[in-house]
Amino acid sequence: MESGPLSARSLVIRDLVKEYKPGQPVLKGISLDFDGRGMTAIIGPSGTGKSTLIRCINRLVEPSSGSILFHGQDLAQLRGQGLRAARRRIGMIFQEFNLVERLTVVENLLCGRLGYVNPLKAWLRRFPARDLARAFDLLETVGLKGFAAQRADSLSGGQRQRVGIARAIMQEPDLLLADEPTSSLDPKTSVEIMELMVDLAGRENIPVVVNIHQVALAKRFADRIVGMSGGHIVFDGPPDDLTDEHLKTIYGGEAWLET
């Protein structure tokens, strides 16, 4: 590794616990280091806390205990202004896209700048010229040139996720979180979306943490795979090291494995 263990975009999670109900932790003391580069895929069975883990990072879910160090701050302790400032540097891509359906495509992209624009100007849609130019550039990059004025609810699933990715990139993030970004898409579109994410994040060296169900996609695109089971990390390593034995540990059983 060329740079030190703590680059500007690194993320350090220590002893993260989340209990939705007291005494029933979903995350049972997760510790993970992200060195601020490449794509990390988190795999694991449904209900094992992958989504909770990702949402604890940008505090869409409140962690019960533990720390999340990013930019030299503990994200778990932030509130108000500080939390919003931290969120501005963390882009998020959602399973169901979570676009504002009744806004136009370009307005959805500009949502990525809302942390920087004051409320009156946002209300009047007076975004800085630089943001607007970047939005149209990004639309072209994600292959949606000419869609700017269309309403988000008129798009197909794949197109929506392209808007979702562009919105996250609009934030100029230092970290990109993706919560099952391909689970609502067909296999071909899933691959296209993963390629787009890797491509866009790679251009600006943005580290990506992605939850993903499809092991094949994780192995194909990620530089590192974290396997979770029952609220613990049971595998952490490069995709090539992930064996069927590991998958049995992560998901349990073996009947589902293709021989």
Binding site: R87, V100, W123
Partner: protein, 264 residues
């Protein structure tokens, strides 16, 4: 897997509970009792038809000779309705947002909901009586009464509309680090705008109707003139006023339908 066999008596359609049946029975009994109290008889109904016919006969032809008074009063009613709708809806927006339980903590929604409940608890005519006592006869009392009614209605429906929005869209905007007001303008308002236009135009409709009535208690507009004409048995002038009100309401109806269609 085979489902365990159920005892025969469990294999029937579930019936309405005994409480619901008791409720229906109580309603039927009360209707019969209340009707008997009011002494509704066929003789009274028959005699009433005769009086009604006489009344209608005296209304034709409608007397439009005092059209200047009519036009002046109608204009005042329109002013009451428009001003009350404008300010009422303007005030209802923030109160509705504060009352939405998915956007605000309990200690904010509770007072907001109480305020809405107070606004809704009296008919606008009763509120108009209060304001006539407070600020005196005239349009101002009517306007204030209709503002109260508008706040109650629009804020309640607005709060309910906000409570039904998709929080996923709000969550996505929040995740960008947007401050609260930007979350509202980009995450919440786009989802409720058409519905908001819908019930605002409905309230405008309603305010036009009620603005013709508040005058009866001294709140300004055409209601006062209508009431006076009734008391002087000027039924032909009454007819003229009623026809004018119908025309006005129909125009408003068309206008608000157009408004809703534009924002759909």
């Amino acid at each position: 897997m085979i489902a365990p066999a159920q005892p025969a008596d469990e294999r029937r359609l579930p019936r309405a509970g005994w409480l619901a049946r008791l409720g229906w029975l109580a309603l039927a009994v009360y209707i019969a009792y209340a009707a008997s109290l009011l002494e509704i008889t066929w003789e009274r109904f028959y005699a009433g038809l005769g009086h009604g016919a006489l009344f209608v006969a005296r209304m034709v032809p409608p007397d439009f000779s005092r059209w200047e008074l009519l036009a002046y009063d109608l204009t005042e009613s329109v002013e009451i309705a428009v001003l009350a709708s404008f300010f009422g809806i303007l005030i209802a927006l923030p109160i509705g947002l504060l009352a939405a339980r998915n956007m605000m903590p309990l200690w904010v929604t509770w007072p907001a909901r109480t305020l809405i409940a107070v606004c809704r608890s009296f008919h606008p005519v009763i509120v108009a009586i209060l304001f006539v006592k407070a600020v005196g006869f005239g349009a101002l009392a009517g306007i204030l009464a209709l503002i109260v009614a508008s706040v109650g209605f629009v804020a309640k429906l607005f709060a309910e509309a906000i409570e039904e929005i998709s929080m996923k869209q709000v969550e996505a905007v929040r995740a960008t680090g947007a401050p609260f007001f930007n979350v509202v303008t980009f995450g919440v308002l786009p989802q409720v705008l058409t519905r908001f236009i819908g019930f605002s135009s409905y309230q405008l409709d309603s305010n036009f109707r009620v603005s013709t009535v508040v005058g009866i208690v001294g709140g300004g507009g055409i209601g006062g003139t209508l009431f006076a004409a009734f008391q002087r048995f000027d039924y032909d002038f009454v007819a003229a006023i009623l026809l004018s009100i119908i025309a006005l309401i129909m125009v408003v109806e068309v206008f608000s339908a157009r408004l809703r269609a534009t924002f759909q």
